[in-house]
Amino acid sequence: MTAYLAIVSARFRTLLQYRAAAVAGIVTQTFFGVVRLSILEAFFRASTGPQPMTAADMPAYIWLGQALFQMVPWALDRDVAAQIRSGGVAYELLRPVDLYGFWFSRALALRTAPVLLRAAPMVVIAAAFFGMGPPPSVASAAAFAASVLSALLISCALTVLISISMLRTVSGEGASQALLIAVMVFSGLIIPLPFFPEWLQPFVRWCPFSGLLDVPLRIYTGNIPAGEAAVFIARQLAWVVALVALGRVSLSWGLRRLSVLGG
């Protein structure tokens, strides 16, 4: 266990060095946040009928989504990808740690360090200028925290799955592009998931991507009441277990057939 903690903390400290990138990221995410929020506000001003979410839910949903943007697995772990391409992954197999645990620890740092650098300033900006308020109750806040942690685990499990798929396809383009699209659409990055058509809702609810962003955000806004949050968090955790199991099976399968190039 200490080995994995050491991996997380070493990667974490490395990633915390990218401060200029964080500033650029904050500017870009804030800009996109303004645009996304403006679009949804404009739709709300025009509408008269009842909607699956309220206009008051929007600022927190959009701004927290922008702040947590880096937690979502929309790209692969570049270093691992480069290692698989160069054959360096052979060294990793020599290490006295479990490869899945190793990659998962790296993913854990990759998905948290950039968020920690960006989230606080963005939430301050959003609260000061764009009307983002606190969650409706302490229970909602606690459920939100639990749900974000579960989302982080789903994100890491998906990141590792992409790395594993690269053992088979080398370029990794196909799998990572397909994942990127699925993540963008079904996590709530494009539009909040409740606005999807009715017939898509069962699928949206049951696939793992809603657990990446949409579920924690809706718990925060109170769109998912604190009382019902447990069901959603349980579903997130079930996905973590399923994705980790899938990752472990496909990794051992991939390693059995792995041939490392080079000499």
Binding site: A20, A21, T30, I39, F43, S47, Q51, I181, M184, I190
Partner: protein, 258 residues
């Protein structure tokens, strides 16, 4: 001078074709990524029934024109996009030795075909939106002026971003907010944004001049003809200023040498 870009383009195309599968996957992915974005807009229209008096086809026209324009910019400006790296590596010195304008060489030094996905998707949305709208020769000309103006404006932004590399190589990605963010913002009618946001994108970065006023005319909305026809000129003007800044940067450039 004109044959150079064609040669470089064909060389780049041939190198992309070496790995046909990955090429096709990339284009399809880019197409799908942009495609789902517009489907998201359509889903919101379905849920809300309208956007402050704009129909989906009208929003589609805003969306399609800016995406088409930007895909052309993206296609022909990759060299400026990676300019900061070549500056750091010192390979810009070689460019300066050649008897051709530096900007010309940089512009065509590299091609990336990914933007074709955005282009295809923009064209598809355009075809659908255009079929729902009423057209006259004037309106079609305004739509074309918008694309040409936006192409120049985005090109100017990317040249400006590359020019900044003469002074700093830090935080250049911040300009992405203006390019990619600008495309995203201009895909919707500008009147939905906050006043300060609109002022910035009219006075500082003249996005509204190329993507809003002419398109209002193309949609047959209320807009003074002089504004609809004159505003797209802000695009070339912006590009001209960016190129002036670029020349200033080239003049003061002192190689790190090694």
């Amino acid at each position: 001078m004109t044959i150079l870009p064609l040669r470089l383009l064909s060389a780049s195309l041939r190198s992309h074709m070496e790995d046909r599968f990955s090429f096709v996957v990339q284009i399809l992915a880019a197409l799908a990524i942009n495609g789902v974005e517009f489907l998201g807009v359509a889903a919101l229209f379905r849920s809300f029934g309208g956007l402050r008096g704009w129909s989906l086809a009208e929003v589609g026209l805003f969306y399609a024109l800016v995406n088409i324009a930007f895909s052309f910019t993206d296609l022909f400006s990759r060299g400026f996009d990676v300019f900061a790296d070549s500056l750091r590596a010192g390979s810009f010195d070689r460019v300066l030795l050649r008897p051709r304008p530096a900007a010309w060489q940089i512009a065509f030094s590299e091609f990336r075909l990914r933007p074709l996905g955005r282009l295809a998707q923009g064209a598809a949305v355009f075809a659908w939106a255009a079929s729902q709208l009423a057209w006259t020769p004037d309106r079609a000309a305004l739509a074309a002026a918008s694309v040409a103006g936006a192409f120049c404006l985005f090109y100017g932004l990317i040249v400006f971003q590359a020019t900044m590399a003469f002074w700093t190589v830090d935080s250049l990605e911040m300009m992405n907010a203006l390019t990619y963010g600008g495309v995203y913002a201009a895909g919707y009618p500008m009147d939905i944004y906050r006043p300060w946001f609109r002022r910035f994108f009219t006075g500082v970065v003249p996005l509204a001049c190329v993507c809003w006023f002419p398109v209002l005319g193309a949609l047959g909305r209320e807009v003074p003809p002089a504004l609809a026809w004159g505003a797209p000129l802000a695009g070339p003007a912006f590009l001209f200023l960016s190129l002036a800044a670029w020349r200033l940067g080239v003049r003061r450039y002192a190689s790190t040498g090694s």
